[in-house]
Symmetry: C2
Subunit: 206 residues, 2 copies
DNA sequence: TGTCCCGTATATCAGCCCGATATAGGATGG
DNA sequence: CCATCCTATATCGGGCTGATATACGGGACA
């Protein structure tokens, strides 16, 4: 499941340019999958070479020329095959949470700013999802159960995140103290958090 | 905020090898940030070259030799500086949700298997968080507010995801129908979901 | 006893992705 | 009239992922 597959998926909704496809990702998947031009254009070039899509160039009528891509029958089959084969991953990469882990090392003002920023971003993502939902209803293409499931999932998860931040930001702020456990070392420190093993015990942090 | 910074952060808890650092990431950040050896070892090499950490090699006493890294004063300062400068991102990359978006194109059995897999993964992540919490309490290094915040965040978000899946998987399954909107095209199809603009209108999907 | 697998530990590499950047014309708006 | 934004394509360096190689000790099991 790479950007090539995502492009095939986008093209199942109709012909589109690379630019269109990026807009589609932003409107449908902004909370769970994003791809930049640096991924999309090479992907479309490869798909064309593999005959999974065809491209027709339309000279620019007021603007740069456009390449409109169309899914071939082979492309549609390849997409369905990938949907059946892929082992779907779900990964979160959050510098935000890493920063929060080290909250004790940050000035409270900065901490506050970061939390506000995160809340604002969540609010924005929720807005995007609601716009998408409104649009699908307007287009009569509502009751696509997959799309509705994904929207609901995003809303549920982000509402939980927002609620959690509101409920616990006080506890974070009220604890502005020195690096880690001040001076006196805790019982057994060191990075090694999982239980120490035989040849592992007590090596570091001697 | 790259893997180099994460390594500095891990080393604020005490000296460690590259292997230890990976274990630390897995135990503390498995639900929000992971890095493989392919990122960690080069990062440690660069940090050594920049004098932000020092390395001492311990010949293997029953096993391969180990390189134990230690944060320098410059390294500690650099880490604090990065914490203050970074604009923290929070990104989700979910092939799972993309697949769910195209749920109509999947056989129900496969759909069920994927949902079960996702639930199992969530369960496992929650378990890891609880182990981490138990360990910090046992080590007396509990009441580190940052770490507690991150654990709570992970639990809240994943509980919401799990609840959502349980509540809505029925709706997904009960809708096994043909690709997208069967035969008759919807009012205006095509990838272009955001409102069409002047030079954009009606180009594709003619 | 031999063997097989697992855990510890380091390291590299191809391939993919991200973010920034360049280019360029039309529309919009102060 | 000029600045800024939107449409649209494309490339590139740097960073990360996942797989792979190497090596030794210990425990399980027959």
């Amino acid at each position: 499941m790479d950007v090539k597959d995502l492009c095939l998926g986008a093209l199942t909704y109709g012909d589109a340019t690379g630019y269109d496809i990026k807009k589609f990702f932003e409107s449908s998947f902004s909370h769970c999958f994003l791809a930049g031009y640096g991924s999309i254009y090479p992907a479309l070039a490869e798909l064309t070479a593999e005959k999974l899509v065809t491209a027709r160039t339309v000279p620019g009528q007021g603007g740069p020329s456009r390449k409109i891509y169309k899914l071939t029958e082979a492309g549609r089959k390849a997409f369905l095959a990938r949907l059946k084969q892929t082992v779907p991953q779900h990964k979160v990469k959050s510098e935000f949470l890493v920063l929060m882990h080290f909250a004790e090392l940050l000035p409270p003002a900065r901490l506050n700013a970061i939390l506000d920023e995160r809340l604002e971003d969540i609010r924005h993502q929720l807005e995007l999802i609601q716009e998408f939902e409104a649009r699908t209803v307007a287009q009569g293409s509502a009751n696509a159960p997959g799309a509705r499931f994904v929207c609901g999932f995003g809303k549920a998860v982000m509402a939980a995140a927002s609620d959690y931040i509101h409920a616990h930001r006080g506890g974070l702020l009220r604890a502005g103290r020195r690096p880690h456990s001040s001076n006196k070392k805790p019982a057994r420190a060191g990075v090694r958090s999982p239980q120490a093993t035989s040849r592992n015990r007590g090596y570091t942090n001697a």
